[in-house]
């Protein structure tokens, strides 16, 4: 299987300063994450708010440079590439943001937004009309400004902007997070259709397992910057292994534990886990293959 993006042992910390800038607190956003995105295999990244999903997406796109570790694009290490050298990568891997109200420049009309997203050599030959058609927007929308459109329409413009450069991979960061249920279905169907037409590969970032189940073939569960479970959708959702995955999949049935704002040296989930043993607080579990291609980082399965 041909790989598009691969990251190896990436690590990212953010430094939070207090008001006077004297006290510093280091927040570990991504901790030793390795993952691969293969061509044609839609990958879902799930986790709760603040688990580092968006940071991981930004690292995959090199919008945020990792502190440690490397990002590979088709086997080439591009971690240290300059923006100019990344030009070809930016053309092939695009992103759709969560909030279509903020991700479009308020002073650009649809025509300019789409035109700017096309590579320079294709601007003359490629028609804006075709792109608008592909995302199901009427032709007269090309003169509209973002504030003249609804949330769903804006998100379609954002999708049009993403596909305008003929990418092979699109990273969608909660693309339906701000939309109502019917628009959500429409956008998901549209993305599904575009995948077939343009041969796209998606990376879906979501906290909603139902969407990931519908759209993806592979799933990565992330908690506090650590991958806790990964595998094929069919395996993971049929028999979730990690207690955190169970919690995400069926929040009601599991005995819940209040969110504890403490991190142990061991498993990051230990304080919330109802199955936690002594070892969980002391040693960090490593990702181990339980079934074929189904990996989990939990001492319950060792």
């Amino acid at each position: 299987m041909e790989e598009i993006i691969r990251c190896e042992k990436v690590k990212k910390t953010f430094t939070v300063r207090d008001f006077l800038g004297i006290n510093k607190r280091v927040v570990l956003a991504i901790d030793n994450v390795s993952m691969t995105i293969n061509k044609g295999v839609n990958t879902g990244i799930v986790g709760e708010s603040g688990s580092g999903k968006t940071t991981l997406a930004k690292i995959l796109l090199l919008l945020v440079r990792p502190d440690d570790g490397s990002v590979y694009y088709k086997g080439t290490n591009i971690t240290k590439f300059s923006e100019t050298e990344l030009r070809f990568f930016r053309k092939n891997v695009r992103i759709i943001f969560q909030n279509p109200f903020k991700s479009l420049n308020p002073r650009a009309n649809v025509e300019r937004i789409i035109k700017e997203a096309m590579p320079e050599d294709e601007r003359k030959t490629k028609k804006i009309a075709d792109v608008l058609d592909a995302v199901g927007l009427p032709q007269n929308y090309k003169d509209r400004y973002p504030h003249q459109m609804s949330g769903g329409e804006r998100q379609r413009v954002a999708i049009a902007r993403a596909i305008a450069g003929n990418p092979e991979c699109i990273i969608a960061d909660e693309p339906t997070g701000n939309l109502d249920a019917t628009t959500e279905v429409y956008i998901l169907n549209l993305l599904d259709r575009l995948k077939k037409i343009f041969g796209l590969t998606y990376v879906f970032i979501s906290h909603n397992l139902k969407i990931v189940e519908k759209m993806c073939e592979k799933i990565i569960v992330i908690y506090r910057g650590n991958i806790v479970e990964q595998g094929l959708i069919s395996q993971v959702l049929k028999s979730p292994l990690h207690p955190y995955t169970c919690l995400l999949y069926n929040p009601v049935s599991i005995k819940t534990i209040e969110t504890v704002d403490k991190t142990s040296q061991g498993c990051p989930f230990a304080y919330r886990c109802s199955f936690a043993k002594k070892i969980c607080f002391e040693v960090k579990p490593q990702l181990k293959e339980k079934e074929k291609e189904h990996l989990v980082a939990c001492f319950l399965y060792e």
Binding site: L63, I95, K102, N105, P106, E116, Y145
Partner: protein, 321 residues
């Protein structure tokens, strides 16, 4: 667009009438008038004073006086100054030219300095450059303008690199236009730099914060993610959006800088509207005060209108409704 401008200009009329009425009443209700001082002078007979009062229309009730003044205002007749004995219009025309030159010069200069520095500081947020420039800006904001003016005037008078006071030092009739202009500009520099110093700081702060806020928007991240060159992201996407609120500020500045310049004008000896209004108020020169106030508020409103037109022109979200 035309409709908006027309509407705003029509709004001007009741605003000016209301403003002038209130100030007229306030000035007239303060004790004494210009001729009260003359009463002290034994050489001027009470009859003469009474006669002068009648000739200026000051013997009538205040309300009647006001409408009499308003009637003349429609014909652009601002009345005659008590102290100078020449029409207020002539006086204001000369002073207004000086104040406008000073205001436009310092405004232009401070924006020219503040905006590029703000973009630099905003782009390198929290870097040494940013902190250093912000510190300079705080110094500029926190120093009162009269203090800066005094310091600068002291410095100039010691070093004598620039002329101080007045608008010209060459009175040769044969001097060419360019020489006179250059001389005028030289005199403009001292008050101009003082005003600019005070203004640059807060324009810098506002613009820097706007820039940082715009720069952290997802659509800027989206622009980076598309692989647009930094030049395009900074100038085309960020700067243009960050400039929007600045147009409102510009409009307000055009109006307020005329009044804000008063202290600087007085200290630097620049014959502008500020020193004229101060003199007029102190000596109860009624028509001169009223004339200057009308002109000042007219400029304030026009300044705001210019700001609004600029926003409507640059921001597609504000299309005229």
């Amino acid at each position: 667009m035309k409709k908006l401008i027309l509407k705003r200009l029509l709004h001007l009329i009741p605003m000016l009438i209301g403003m002038s009425f209130v100030s007229f009443i306030i000035i007239q209700s303060s004790p004494g008038d210009y001729f009260a001082q003359m009463k002290m002078n034994p050489e001027i007979s009470p009859e003469t004073i009474q006669q002068m009062r009648t000739s200026f229309g000051l013997d009538k009730p205040v309300i009647v006086q006001y409408f009499y003044w308003l009637k003349n205002l429609v014909r652009f007749d601002f009345g005659v100054s008590f102290a100078y004995h020449i029409p207020v219009r002539t006086l204001i025309k000369f002073r207004l030219k000086n104040t406008l030159c000073l205001a436009i010069f310092s405004l232009f200069l401070s924006w020219l300095i503040a905006i590029p520095l703000a973009v630099l500081a905003g782009y390198k947020e929290n870097s040494f450059t940013d902190r250093f420039l912000s510190m300079l800006a705080y110094i500029s904001i926190s120093l009162p303008s009269f203090f800066v003016a005094l310091l600068f005037v002291y410095f100039i008078s010691k070093t004598a690199v620039l002329p101080l006071g007045g608008t010209r030092s060459i009175f040769d009739i044969n001097a060419g236009t360019f020489v006179i202009f250059a001389d005028y500009m030289k005199h403009l520099l001292v008050p101009g730099i003082v005003l600019c110093f005070v203004n640059t700081g807060w324009i810098f702060r506002l613009m820097r914060n706007n820039f940082v806020e715009t720069f952290n928007n997802p659509y800027i991240l989206a622009a980076w993610a598309r692989g647009l060159p930094a030049r395009s992201v900074i100038f085309k996407h960020t700067l243009r959006n960050a400039m929007n609120p600045m147009f409102t500020i510009l409009g307000m500045e055009i109006g307020t800088i005329l009044n804000g310049a008063a202290l600087t004008e007085i200290i630097c000896g620049w014959p502008g509207m500020g020193s004229l209004i101060l003199e007029a108020v102190l000596s109860h020169d009624l028509y001169l005060v009223m004339g200057s106030l009308v002109i000042s508020s007219f400029l304030l409103i026009i300044g705001n209108l210019i700001g609004d037109i600029l926003i409507a022109f640059f921001d597609p979200r504000i299309r005229i409704t």
